[in-house]
């Protein structure tokens, strides 16, 4: 069978060659370079370089700013993943109830996903600008001194809001699909037995959505960790102080603003290890534990 499909031994290799080439050029090559760079001490122009082994890693891990950045990343990722998923689930459940114009609402819900992260960041930045932002009037009316330029908590709130808003559409789409896969007979049976809508949701819908939720949890964590650079760059640039400097932002800032190439490379290698660990965790553990109905 295989023989007849691939008459030559080389053909399968040829067919996957483009994919291999892309992986080599765009992933393995830069990854190996980052690994090599992370063990060098170099001036910005690369005129003088010296092999220092794991010294860059030692320095990075001993840096208080790096520890702060880990905390910031944890808070940011958890909040972003939670809010984007919780709101998307709520919206998906509500959208399911609509009989007329369901397609119209769904289409509208999906639109924000098409907005580029930097643009999303700018939108939120303008809406909540303390001087002329339209929505900045709301916290002010509530008696809150709104100043995300100086207040770290408010700045974090703003980037979490922008990052979550952008991801809600994506989550919404998956939750809608997940909801449609739940057999209506189960819901009807429990309704006949006297279970209200809230109870039906928590005992039937929510557990049956577990595979979707787990998948989204992984996707959202990766999104919050790596895809939100544009939002943070546009809204806060890591400030005020270092209160919104995530790990990815710090890699950029140390490498491209402070020109500490070795330290920046070491940080990106650490990030690479985190991604590999997350992916391995997803495949080895999460995928097996989740019950796919």
């Amino acid at each position: 069978m295989n023989r007849s499909t691939f008459p030559h031994r080389l053909l399968p290799w040829l067919l996957i060659a483009p994919q291999l080439a892309i992986s080599l050029v765009f992933f393995y090559w830069p990854a190996v370079q980052a690994l090599w760079q992370s063990m060098l001490r170099e001036d910005p122009f690369g005129l003088k370089s010296r092999f220092v082994g794991l010294q860059n890693f030692q320095k990075v891990l001993a840096e208080p700013a790096y520890i702060n950045s880990i905390q910031v990343t944890a808070v940011f990722s958890i909040l972003t993943a939670f809010f984007s998923m919780a709101i998307a689930l709520l919206l998906a459940v509500q959208a399911e109830k609509i009989v007329r114009g369901r397609g119209f609402y769904r289409t509208l819900m999906i639109w924000p996903y098409a907005v580029a992260p930097a643009i999303a960041g700018m939108l939120w930045l303008f809406m909540f600008n303390p001087s002329f932002g339209t929505l900045a009037a709301i916290p002010r009316a509530l008696g809150i001194h709104w100043d995300p330029l100086l207040n770290g908590t408010q700045a974090m709130g703003l980037v979490v809001a922008a990052a979550s808003w952008k991801q809600i559409s994506y989550n919404f789409l998956f939750f809608v699909a997940g909801l449609q896969a739940i057999p209506k007979s189960l819901l009807e049976a429990s309704a006949i037995d006297g279970a209200g809508p809230v109870r039906r949701f928590w005992t039937i819908v929510f557990p049956l959505l577990a595979p979707t939720s787990f998948f989204l949890l992984v996707v959202n964590t990766v999104y919050a960790l790596f895809d939100t650079f544009g939002i943070i760059h546009a809204v806060t640039s890591g400030g005020p102080g270092k209160s919104t400097e995530t790990l990815v932002y710090k890699v950029y800032n140390d490498g491209f603003v402070n020109l500490l190439i070795g330290s920046s490379a070491a940080q990106s290698v650490i990030l690479m290890v985190i991604v590999i660990a997350l992916t391995a965790f997803q495949f080895r553990y999460v995928e097996r534990k989740v019950h796919y109905g």
């Binding site: 001490r41 910005p44 001087s131 100086l150 491209f256 603003v257």
Partner: protein, 435 residues
């Protein structure tokens, strides 16, 4: 704005190969200018190309100052460096550390058979872009100096004399309080670039040291920051106190505060002279004064140049260097410098252009436009006012900005802030020197 420029640049890149091949030497010029200043770049390059047919200057917009510097560094590492790159003032230390990557402008000019007469240029600016032995390393293209802008309407409303901008920092604090208390405006004072204006220029203008070893300009050792001296602490404590009730309003780390001033929210504003274009455009009834000084110190001394200069990369052909030299010769011309100065608010770099602007009556019609020049050239610079040069000044600025933000948010007082800047800054400087 930037996006549009990028598209224009991208379009230009695609259009280039379509041009007929001429025996012309192309010289690329990477820059970071936007808006009115980008138009000046295009016009100067276009005019130069029209005056002769041997060389063609191709200006390319590369993003903000740090982005341009980074693009140049990355291009150098890949062996694709442009001939000319615009580098902002704080990147000067980075470029100076890259001996072998750059070609000193003095050499470019003399190799091309031109004489470079230093006495023709504004001394403070040339000194800033020279090696300690006096060799000029980069060509000063756009230099600016921080000045005070006031909103005259707000001054009148607050019962202040609109013809008397504040001269000292104490006057700024008092007037700002009066503006706020009288209700003439929601805020009294705001400023762009706290690091450039309130640290680097504050030190030079008041003749107090920023760091040891002549603020890093003198060889011999690793400079140590001197920013927690009482004069700095008192200054920033005053700022922090005014921030509590909004008399001082923080806009951001770079030039974001310009929007606050343009919106009429604050009466007094310190900003680069290069920011004048937008203020003129807004139609505001504005006044200009020199940068305020601190009465507890030895000022006013002289301010240090900001803005950017043009660096030439090494490893190019002799023909290309000749073209670069011809271009630098062209932009040193009095009429080109006059145009640059009057259109953009940046300083002229030659004395002839300054004199020509003076005799043309431009300063008479535009009062205040001479202020950035006189405050930079008024006195011969001292050890404290030649400039600040650290191999990682952008990083030190970042550290200072982070600590300022904590202070203005009320998390720490000025003493703790300045101590933290010195401690973290010194560690970063030692590291940058290879410690």
């Amino acid at each position: 704005m930037q996006r549009r420029n990028l598209i224009a640049v991208a379009a230009a890149c695609f259009a280039l190969p379509a041009l007929p091949a001429v025996a012309q030497t192309e010289i690329s010029w990477w820059h970071a200018m936007t808006g009115a200043n980008a138009e000046v770049v295009e016009k100067i390059a276009g005019d130069f190309n029209a005056t002769q047919s041997d060389y063609k200057i191709v200006p390319t917009f590369k993003g903000t100052y740090p982005e341009t510097l980074n693009a140049g560094i990355a291009a150098f590492r890949a062996g694709q460096a442009p001939e000319i790159m615009q580098v902002f003032d704080v990147g000067t230390g980075v470029m100076m550390g890259a001996e072998g990557a750059v070609m000193p402008v003095a050499d470019v000019l003399t190799n091309a058979g031109m004489t470079f007469d230093k006495s023709q240029y504004l001394p403070g600016i040339v000194a800033y872009y020279s090696k300690p032995d006096g060799t000029m390393l980069s060509f000063p293209y756009n230099s600016s100096s921080p000045i005070t802008y006031i909103n005259k309407d707000i001054f009148t409303k607050a019962g202040l004399d609109p013809e008397q901008p504040p001269k000292t920092w104490n006057e700024v604090w008092d007037m700002a309080k009066k503006i706020k208390q009288s209700g003439a405006a929601p805020c009294g004072y705001t400023s762009t670039w706290l690091t450039w204006i309130h640290l680097e220029n504050f030190a030079a203008w008041n003749d107090v040291p920023y760091a040891t070893y002549g603020n890093g300009l003198e060889p011999g050792g690793v400079p140590e920051l001197k920013l927690n001296a009482p004069v700095f602490v008192n200054h920033f404590q005053a700022l922090a106190d005014l921030a509590k009730d909004g008399t001082f309003k923080y806009g951001g780390r770079t030039s974001e505060a310009k929007q606050i001033f343009l919106a009429g929210e604050c009466g007094i504003f310190t900003e680069s002279s290069g920011g004048l274009g937008d203020i003129v455009k807004s139609g505001m009834n504005y006044g200009i004064g020199q940068l305020p000084y601190d009465t507890d110190a030895g000022g006013p001394q002289n301010t240090i140049p900001g803005g950017a200069s043009l660096w030439v990369f090494g490893g190019k052909s002799e023909e290309q260097y000749k073209g670069v030299a011809a271009f630098f010769d062209y932009i040193s011309k009095t009429e080109v410098q006059e145009y640059l100065h009057q259109k953009s608010g940046y300083l002229p770099v030659t004395l002839a252009a300054y004199d020509a602007t003076k005799t043309s009556g431009f300063y008479g019609q535009n009062p205040g436009r001479e202020t950035p020049i006189t405050q930079m050239m008024g006195k011969a610079p001292t050890e404290n006012s030649k400039g600040v040069r650290l191999p990682n000044l952008p990083q030190v600025r970042d550290i200072a900005n982070e600590e300022f933000e904590k202070m203005l948010a009320g998390e720490q007082d000025a003493q703790a802030t300045m101590d933290a800047i010195v401690e973290r800054g010194n560690a970063a400087i030692t590291e940058a020197y290879g410690g």
